[in-house]
Symmetry: C3
Subunit: 416 residues, 3 copies
């Protein structure tokens, strides 16, 4: 082989491989979310939640091609992009990689935002309604936030920082899930008339644990891949280490708190502690020191444990803990940028400006998602219906929505 | 570190990393096939199908080293290669990467071809017979087709195009499975004497869904890795996006068709719709536009749904749908090159020649596989026997072939 | 983009991406170990073993940051490193990659060493005791061996060779597990007073098989990644092929031996045969020919089968076979360097010196691990206690340690 390649072509190749391998890992998180959600819900709904999870990625693939990318990365005003529908007219490269590679990386993120909602609304949402809101989240609600922060919109111009999506992906998904679960109401049998709460255990801890490990693995695409360039070796390595420390710390501290609270090291809380750390470090991972990553993960685990308890107390029934993990820790991670950013952070002598911008952006994003998803979910609720019938919920959505039994060879206990 | 590396060495490193990472992903598809097949079959046969799946990769590893690679990539005539047995005498590099890296990438493909057969013949094939035919597929039947198309054989010389193996891997595996299932006959209890059919549900939808996601993930090695070079950034990105759109479209359209046909969105059909799209886009992925990839996936999903119904009608009992997914959609993907190829395709003004070559090649490959596997399976059937006894089939192959219970702690329903 | 990058920066980028992608794969082995161990143990302990597996990686993440790395790669004497606690003062790069990337790769190895112990001691170890010994293994016992061999310690200076950790990772983990299981004693009901043995089957073959495939997949990071450079294309390709052939051979030969011994192709032995081949090839993978890799895998499978039988005979109760796989085949792989090394190996005309150094090193490592873990496990045993109560063991550690049921929707048989 002759030296037929230029340095530019070599750098493009390295960047493209990096972005695509990262994108494959983020795609793989779809499996992680699916298995986590299936494991944390009952056997009678396992096929349904997995089908939702598959479908939201498929719908996102088509919708982000047709519309979502245009709104998020098209040329536009301060609010949204307005070119590149169906990828028509895209530049050949973007940020130094083929735009198609960049598109696919972004698509994988879109899928994540959409699937987070499924978890919070598990075990009672109509499949048809799911398809519709999943499409709307993928092509309108998520991409417009993405435009504000990553597409050159008003928050970007103001200096808002969310490196890999604590707010853009996780808070958006988690808050949408919160509104969805409020619109749905709690599952049958979750809360008693005397004010007490029943635990409805998920049907398979191994599936949940599998899901968590796949998510953690995929996060090594999510955060480091967000450099969009494989040439930034030192930064990439730092992001990897910060991501990992926050996750490990989140798991350890959540286990300890759970242990103190319930006298046993709770497995579900520990799994969500790891995820809480991952969500929280996602925004600040590129700008903070290792000890800061440790602290960010530790605080995230406190938030996720007490957030879970609090949501139960106010009767928000979120079967998999999507709201505390993604909404609350996504907000925390976003604010942590304002606190721990090595140059702009309040605790590093950067003053209040970054924290102020982060707060403003977070408020705007929360407002946008609450407003749009409220319209979305309540419109669905009062038209086609958002929730399955009580009879179908009792017998399970696998049978009711898909005429299938996820485990036909196993005897299951009568009430599951 | 000094600048001790030349541009050539750097390009070789990039290409090698790309090919090997892709190969790891293709290797991982072995898990995907195993879990998909286990999930779609009964609990009493789960260990057996997984053991077959493991063994065919192990046998392929040894057989492709000893013989298969020689027949597929050795120097030879128009029909087959005849050098490089046991990798003796191989060049140090091939297509710009170490030949060992190229060999491993090709081995992972061989494993895929072999394991597809296992699915169609699941739940009734003798383990010993399986080992033998798996070896023959890996070292003779598959590599010779590979030589024709990728090794410089007569189809390659004629201009036949199969970028990543819709025909070479998937049709070969699927057609071998079709002949195998015909040689075996249907499972006990599948068809009734009055002409009606019984559904025999797989024992675990979560395992099947896990398998599908792992396969989709692995396909990002299968198709983009077939560039055999990491330097072709634009082409790689295009292949990734085409692959993904075809899969997503296949799943969505299969779900819709199934919904119209059965009044419910069927999970199994949807899973196979995604796989159908993946199989079909494998041959044309490098040469078609995004809208063409969408169409290819859509047609594949129609083929897989009606193919499944049709095979059931003619009493070909293929427990996992390997024949419609791999044989039929592999053929469709191969023909799609002749239709949608951006320069040679009939619909793009390229005239009939490419479509003619694709048809001729497809006929030759079908003829070769039907002929050789008929000899293979019927020889086995009338000598050592291809099928387990009815008693063993009833009690399950896990117990009968391996003296094991895949789930000893679970109570299972009596007839599973 | 201008040609703003130097060749050195490009090579650093390639090396960093290679090391990190490999590290992600090694991290993913954590899932493989977890699923393998869960599958090979009973349903009533599935959550507990997975929680241990998660926790040992989390603890290693924190402990290897604080102390372990300092002992293993700090500047020091012949015995251990003494700088870089909490990564303070680390150089910016090490072996041509950012030290943070190198650290993360090494952390993933630490997690593997720690989790191997969990398997041997499964189904009866107190969770609290587990947390403590897991920490000690991660921050003292393993890193000091690592320093001897990879950190510039006395074995490195002597010319001891262990390319990717047959001894450093696998023997250390396996021997620690052996001492742990001796300290614990066998599980209730494993051995009868008349000298006979009961088989206690694992609760899920599919989970075990999933674990094995994930481990095999992850090994493509473990061994080839240990080049620590992506620029060594030929060497990397060779390592991949050797790794794969040893695994495949191990599985095939273990299946055959098991078949001859038990009249059936045993699935559990075959799984462990593949792992045995992987463990054994880990030390010599960079220095041996393909036929040697075949032989190394074949011998490993003999060792693992007869080792399993032998351990059962002497009443060492190792539920998942961690001792034969990791301790015995780790030792074998280390000695195989002395036999098959292409220049230094006894069988390749290199004389006895390398074999002697390997033997000496192996003896030292065994001595170190036996001594330290004996102190560790027996201290725990006679203070806080190492083993759960008989009542808790009977009811299962999931309930006893975590107040949880891994599969609450499934009816399980009474004695599992």
């Amino acid at each position: 082989m002759e030296n037929i390649f230029s340095i530019t072509e070599i750098v493009t190749a390295i960047d493209t491989i990096w972005v695509l391998v990262a994108a494959f890992l983020v795609f793989f998180m779809q499996l992680g979310f699916g298995m986590l959600e299936a494991g944390f819900t009952r056997a009678k709904n396992a096929g349904n939640i997995l089908m939702k999870n598959l479908m939201d990625f498929c719908i996102a693939s088509l919708g982000y091609w047709a519309v979502g990318f245009a709104l998020m990365y098209g040329a536009g005003n301060a609010f949204m992009g307005t070119t590149f529908f169906f990828l028509n007219g895209i530049e050949e490269t973007k940020y130094g990689v083929p735009t198609m590679a960049f598109w696919f990386f972004q698509l994988a993120f879109t899928g994540a935002a959409a699937t987070i909602v499924a978890g919070a609304m598990a075990e009672r949402t109509k499949f048809q309604a799911y398809l519709i809101y999943s499409l709307v989240v993928s092509i309108v609600i998520y991409p417009i936030v993405g435009y504000w922060v990553w597409g050159g919109g008003w928050l970007a111009r103001m200096g808002y920082i969310d490196f890999a999506g604590s707010s853009v992906v996780h808070s958006v998904g988690g808050i949408a899930g919160l509104i969805g679960t409020i619109a749905l109401g709690p599952r049958l049998g979750k809360y008693n008339s005397d004010g007490s709460t029943n635990t409805i255990p998920g049907h398979s801890l191994p599936l949940a644990m599998l899901g968590m490990f796949v998510l953690w693995f995929g996060w090594f695409g999510f955060n480091p891949g967000s450099t969009l360039s494989g040439m930034q070796s030192g930064l990439i390595a730092r992001i990897v280490v910060n991501t990992n420390i926050a996750a490990a710390t989140g798991a350890v501290i959540a286990m300890i708190i759970g242990w103190l609270q319930t006298k046993k090291p709770d497995i579900g809380l520990t799994i969500n502690g790891a995820l809480a750390g991952l969500v929280a470090i996602t925004a600040p991972c590129a700008f903070v020191t290792l000890p800061a990553a440790f602290l960010i993960g530790a605080v995230a685990s406190v938030i996720v444990v007490y957030g879970t308890f609090f949501l139960d107390k106010i009767r928000v029934d979120d079967p998999v803990g999507a709201v505390p993990v993604h909404a609350l820790c996504g907000i925390w991670g976003t604010m942590a940028v304002g606190l721990f950013h090595e140059t702009n952070g309040l605790l590093y002598g950067g003053g209040w400006r970054q924290l102020g911008v982060q707060s403003l952006g977070m408020i705007a994003i929360i407002g946008w998602v609450v407003a749009t998803t409220s319209v979305l979910f309540f419109s669905l609720k009062y038209t086609m219906g958002l929730r399955v019938s009580a009879a179908e919920e009792s017998i399970g959505l696998d049978y009711g929505e898909h005429a299938v039994n996820a485990y036909p060879d196993s005897k299951t206990s009568s009430l599951s």
